[in-house]
Symmetry: C2
Subunit: 339 residues, 2 copies
DNA sequence: CACGTTTATGAAACCGTTTTCATGTGCTAC
DNA sequence: GTAGCACATGAAAACGGTTTCATAAACGTG
């Protein structure tokens, strides 16, 4: 019944003009108390629900934020998404999430849809190197905040984690544990996150004067890949004592492989990851990793975005780098604080 | 630049009326080939992007679907959400996800927002017994599909899993393994899913003539709760050989507790769950559980919803019950197919 | 060749709001 | 007594599309 009740119906029922009803709804301008009462009664009686589509058209603002990210069903992103959503909802905005599977075509179509829907802003987790032009395209229309993965050449607010440093400190810890023969399973190197993590790892080895050249393998952040690269590492018989993975999912895959082969973790091979997804603390042995503040990244990016939307777009873009935290657990055997 | 380009600008540039431009955009009516060309050129030249807000207002359809669910950062829901999103996107709709933390107040506000935004339909995962009235309220305005948890007294499309049967078969398997002294950690009993799982468990015991009364504990589907109830079970010294949990997260919590207490799983106590979240196959020992087709549930519900939206709302509501699958892994020790 | 179709286009109403502007009170202050 | 201001309301123009209706040219076709 109430679905097609318009402001006009309310006005008629209350015996006033639609302007006055609009004032009551928005709490703007002057309205006599008795009139307000009449109108509120009419609204209740008719079960009136303001039409946000019309409002958006008229105001030129939809109060909708779009988020473009690889895949919510991938363990790292739900937390990040929740961070965005909470920040956005608490300010009266609504969130649309688009999954891209890190595919530029899907990113392209997501951008198009969001712009057509006239969202007030976009949070973008770039999936590929070609994403840059899409970020640019979007940012010509609305404020854009980039999370997690840096995008070159496009000036917009950015929230990242210090991947280099996280990786560096993790590596230092591993060296302290006595590891010298290490293997590294990287993520796709076109992602800034992958690059920096590998760089941090290498830099730490260099700075520590470790001569043994690490064996670097190239993965894609997936569980299965971690598993099969681990098998490969064993097959090659390199005498590796520690496998450093660019994310937790590959680390868990690697760990599982070693266990299937009867190789003790951490007794024979240590394994560690990056991200600290929920699973990391629940697998056995629990995974040593570098914790990314995913929720905070999402929330922070959303807040920066909203501020830019509401305060105006002219200020120069800001960039926030959050500090990751080394979380030492059982998969690297060494002592330290358990979590 | 292109953000404020309207259909009028395109019309002017192409030297035609806006009606004709609209025809080209929507591919409706007659348009001479040469005119179409001119208009398409103008669209490209101006970087015109149709305003969906205006279109929605005019057409009375937003092409947006709302999904109301407890929490995307909770492992069961991302997969379900992805199922909904894929189904919806492939038909040209966009998805808005609202997190409610199973709290009625947040459900209430989500329903209000979605109705104000004039979404074309809603997918609802009810969080509490009081959700029913909200489902009703929503379904008075737009088509609604209910997933996972049944809602009484509101006629709308429903997709669920046969929780009773899943639990029943799991229990039969456990009895076959020789377990007699069992503990059950239930979910919140106001949820239909929790009720049915417990009922299936009990029914199987009864049907199998097992006299030992099972010990039933009441949890809330959370990891920590599984952990602490497990400790309680041990403290009570009941001689339990198998702990059946109403979901995987509690099961993993319980398992971890046993391990922390030096109690072997499955050698001393078997543990099993329900859901088959990703984590279930990655923990050690891997978890025996009942797999819910979360993705398919989401996709199916979305498809039913879209069909109702596009074919009309009059047909009587349909209800689909999907079959869960028993997945036997290591946490119950017994042989069987490994996964 | 007169008439019904098909093809092609434009004018204008409509979707449900917000917002500006105009108008009209009733006070207060001088 | 009247200028000026706060209070209260309504009419009408946006916002950017879609869609109906009218008009007209081109096209068979009998």
């Amino acid at each position: 019944m109430s679905g097609n009740v318009t402001i006009r119906d309310v006005a008629r029922k209350a015996g006033v003009s639609i302007s006055t009803v609009s004032r009551v709804i928005n709490g703007t301008g002057y309205v006599r108390e008795s009139t307000r009462k009449k109108i509120e009664d009419a609204i209740r009686a008719l079960g009136y629900s303001p039409n946000h589509v019309a409002r958006s058209l008229s105001k030129g603002s939809t109060k909708i934020i779009g988020a473009i990210l690889p895949d919510i069903s991938n363990p790292f992103f739900p937390t990040l998404a929740r961070g965005i959503d909470d920040a956005v909802s608490s300010r009266g905005y609504t969130l649309i999430i688009c999954n891209t599977d890190s595919d530029v075509r899907q990113e392209e179509s997501s951008v198009r849809v969001l712009l057509e829907k006239r969202v007030d802003g976009v949070v973008f987790v770039a999936g590929s190197p070609e994403s840059a032009s899409l970020v640019r395209r979007a940012s010509e229309q609305v404020p854009v905040a980039v999370i997690d993965r840096e995008v070159e050449g496009v000036p917009c607010d950015t929230v990242t984690v210090d991947n280099f440093r996280g990786s560096y400190e993790l590596t230092r810890y591993l060296l302290n544990c006595g590891h010298r023969k290490m293997a590294y399973i990287s993520g796709p190197l076109h992602l800034s996150t992958s690059k920096k993590r590998l760089a941090g790892f290498r830099a730490c080895l260099r700075d520590s004067g470790v001569n043994d050249e690490p064996h670097v393998f190239h993965g894609d952040f997936k569980y299965d890949t971690g598993y099969s690269i681990a098998r490969e590492i064993i097959r090659m018989g390199l005498g590796i004592t520690c496998v450093v993975c660019a994310n937790d999912l590959m680390a868990i895959g690697a760990m599982r492989c070693f266990q299937d082969l009867g190789i003790g973790v951490p007794s024979q091979v240590a394994v560690c990851g990056f991200d600290d997804i929920t699973m990391a603390s629940l697998v056995r042995p629990s995974l040593t990793t570098v914790a990314q503040p995913a929720y905070r990244m999402g929330a922070l990016a959303a807040e920066m975005l909203l501020e830019r939307i509401e305060k105006g777009r002219d200020q120069s873009p800001r960039s926030r780098v959050l500090e990751p935290v080394l979380v030492i657990r059982d998969s690297t055997g060494g002592g330290g604080v358990k979590a």
